[in-house]
Amino acid sequence: MKRILALILISIIGSTAASRADDLPVLTVYTYSSFVSDWGPGPAVKKAFEAECACKLNFVAVEDGVVLLSRLRLEGASSPADVVLGLDTNLTAEAAATGLFTPHKMDLSALQLPIAWHDADFVPYDFGYFAFVYDTTKLKNPPHSLADLVGGASSDKILIEDPRSSTPGLGLLLWIKQVYGDQAAAVWQKLKPRILTVSKSWDEAYGLFLKGEAPLVLSYTTSPAYHIIEEKKTQYAAAEFPEGQYMQVEVAGITAHARQPELARKFLTFMVSKKFQDAIPETNWMFPVTAVTGGLPSAFPPLPKKTLMIAPEDIAAHRKAWIDEWLAAMSQ
């Protein structure tokens, strides 16, 4: 039986190692799992880039954007990653501080971003806004502002995510911090009775919402567009708040020790071209950073009137204290 064990282990290691026998240069891109899934932009992006780069594009996918940075830090300079795609603006300051990234040196003035972009290391590839999504057939009286949500009837429960394990969860924490500042802890205590539960991830929270557990869920302004385009369902809507919607920008960067720096630069240029950007709206369900062929789908919402965003450096400096404050308020 020991021989069988050895055989199985060898065959596993062998079969994964066999995929390396190719003469083309290989560009290794670290990203998150949903980007490379059959429903994400990954397959289309791989095909389009390989058609023009005379190379092999190798995606390595981990759980999500946060694990992406952890993984890179664990590997350090020995990481095989040439490009890291999928960090967001809540992580860029810390990512840059690791010294594991190199400046992109690209001219990004043509990008259509609603905010000015000055980051030397990271290139944005899409963006979105956090919002409370609700089912119009179930919630007759949706909240009209963040204040409304915080002070509203506790019978209309909301589903949120944990800021320690989820990007939207952290987004809401920062959203409330930016709007309420020092009052944030008090606001969380006031909001607490309305919260049905705090999920580990967006997937769980949104799944519970679609199953009808609560009429409101923390998601993105673009979520209703998915239901309109893919399912022809028009009952979902995102509440717009006059205090503003918190923005998330997803970015990619070239690693300082990239084995294929030229290919990596080529990939980032490709990333902000139409071929890549065309895939974004209806696979990643985020806003593209350039104009796309045929314009945005009509089901996409307009950009919010007011954008909220805390500077990445401030987030890096205070996040731990803010999460501790949240934990204290929420676990009482």
């Binding site: 596993i12 759980e63 539960t197 705090v198 199953k211």
Partner: protein
């Protein structure tokens, strides 16, 4: 078989566990003062201990009458199926369980709907301590019931003959025969259940309603992800290990040696089965247990069958993911089985308290996330490559599987040793011959059950694979997350059904192949 290979495995296990955590601490020395002063951590330790204690107590207390009823009714239609069903909850992936609990007990669940139609307003009760307990009992009660059933079925026929002759009633039988039989595995099962509930993550967070009831694992998650405080993660993991380890040691004193019984090894009718009252009570207990365990499984089946099952079954990605999962699960299973059996054999010969068994149980209390990160640091330090990722996943799942094998097989092994050691010594039967003639046939069933458990657990694992994700290594649990992330709830439901069916299939197949067909 001497204790030497067992000691080698135990040493290797300690080396891997210790090495992984030491690597994290070496990479980033922890701020111990900050950890000691963290008031949220104090809260977590208190609440998680409370939650795990309650979950464990209820699971074990409920499992005893269920096991007793099943032992008394040795043959009824569907008994075999029911016992197989009992193997399922413990190996269901957390996310599938969460959705199954929600479908049943949630705000829009069946129970709520039923009560509302009957004019009863229940109000929400799923999110909070109650939700955690409901899910943890679902996870652990069936496992405990199966372990207790095995203990009851091992009661020698002479005991029952004696009980008949003495005209014992139900209470006397429980006190004099069943309780002593249960006691042997009680501490061991309780410790296992406590450890699982203590380290539970997705269940305690989502069904607990928020960070109030979240476990230490959530704090480890934060330390490893955002703060990238490796040392802190390692210290938290050690804390989790220490608390579970202390409990394990404490309960070990209650794992009393079973009385030496020279049984004939064939079943003899129990004297307490004839009464009508007893029959009705057993029927009710068995029916309630079947409903409690079966309904969530039924909800998974309904959700999957009404989801996009055809689309999922015809997608090549589905079968590739299933294939990778099975390959990893079989590797993990063989690894865990060999390691654990060597340790059990070693401990049986060296001493009765079984330090090896204690060591073999430790991986269960180790945070899979911290363990994974530590092994990752070691791997990169020693020049490992991405391609070794899957092997590492199999290794971690194998380590995580060892405690199950030890817990399930060790009592039977000890029993066999007590019955046959003197005989074997006087006849000079030892080593392979002894295994082939004496221990093997007796231990087949528990080993089969344990191996099936490990393979099934590995199939449903998400923790290890999410961190080491390498090119083209999506497993079914990961696929479910990808589908959910892409809003494809119906596809995720169908994949969940496939995963549960595959897990169940593997479980039954392995249990039959290894344990023999006489199940039941």
């Amino acid at each position: 078989m001497t204790g030497l290979p067992g000691a080698a495995v135990a040493a290797a296990l300690l080396l891997i566990l210790g090495g992984a955590l030491a690597a994290l601490i070496a990479a980033a020395p922890p701020d111990l003062a900050a950890i000691a002063a963290d008031s949220y951590l104090h809260h977590v330790l208190l609440f998680t201990s409370l939650q795990a204690g309650l979950s464990c107590l209820l699971s074990v207390l409920l499992a005893i009458p269920v096991a007793r009823a099943l032992a008394r009714r040795g043959s009824f239609t569907g008994r075999t199926l029911l016992l197989r069903l009992f193997g399922l909850p413990m190996v269901m992936p957390a996310i599938v369980t969460v959705f199954a609990m929600v479908a049943l007990y949630g705000e829009s669940g069946w129970l709520h709907w039923l009560m509302a139609n009957a004019g009863l307003s229940t109000g929400g009760f799923l999110y909070g301590l109650s939700g955690i307990l409901i899910a943890h009992i679902f996870f652990n009660m069936p496992f405990a019931a199966r372990a207790f059933l095995a203990a009851l079925e091992a009661v020698p026929g002479e005991s029952w003959r004696l009980a008949s002759q003495l005209g014992m009633n139900g209470r006397q039988i429980f006190r004099l025969i069943e309780w002593p039989a249960l006691k042997g595995s009680l501490g061991s099962v309780a410790a296992l259940v406590f450890m699982l509930c203590f380290a539970s993550f997705a269940i305690t967070l989502t069904l607990g309603g928020g960070p109030r009831w979240a476990s230490l694992e959530a704090a480890i998650y934060q330390a490893l992800r955002y703060d990238f405080d490796l040392g802190r993660a390692a210290v938290l993991a050690l804390l989790q290990l220490a608390i579970s380890g202390a409990l394990l040691l404490g309960l070990h004193r209650f794992v009393l040696p079973a009385p030496v019984a020279l049984g004939l090894g064939r079943p003899i009718a129990r004297p307490d089965m004839a009464g009508q009252g007893g029959l009705a009570l057993d029927a009710i207990v068995i029916a309630l247990a079947a409903l409690y365990v079966g309904l969530p499984v039924v909800s998974v089946i309904i959700a999957g069958a009404t989801g996009s099952l055809v689309g999922v079954l015809t997608a090549p990605a589905t079968w590739q993911a299933a294939g990778i999962g099975v390959a990893v699960a079989l590797s993990a299973m063989l690894l865990a089985t060999f390691g654990a059996l060597l340790m059990i054999a070693g401990s049986g010969r060296l001493s009765r308290s079984g330090p090896f068994q204690f060591i073999a149980s430790l991986p269960l209390a180790a945070s899979p996330l911290a363990l994974g990160a530590g092994l990752f640091v070691l791997l990169t330090r020693f020049g490992g490559t991405l391609e070794m990722g899957l092997g590492l996943v199999a290794l971690i799942n194998g380590l995580m599987g060892m405690p199950y094998i030890v817990r399930v097989v060790a009592p039977a092994f000890r029993d066999s040793a007590e019955r046959h050691d003197r005989l074997c010594a006087s006849l000079g039967i030892a080593g392979w011959n002894r295994w082939r003639l004496i221990d093997g046939p007796l231990l087949r069933r528990p080993i089969g059950l344990a191996m099936a458990l490990v393979a099934a657990l590995s199939l449903g694992d998400l923790g290890a694979i999410a961190l080491f994700g390498t090119p083209n290594t999506t497993t079914l649990p990961l696929l479910i997350y990808q589908q959910l992330a892409a809003y494809h709830l119906d596809a995720a439901a169908a994949t969940a059904l496939l995963l549960v069916a595959l897990t169940f299939g593997c479980f039954v197949l392995i249990e039959r192949l290894v344990g023999g067909p006489a199940h039941g």
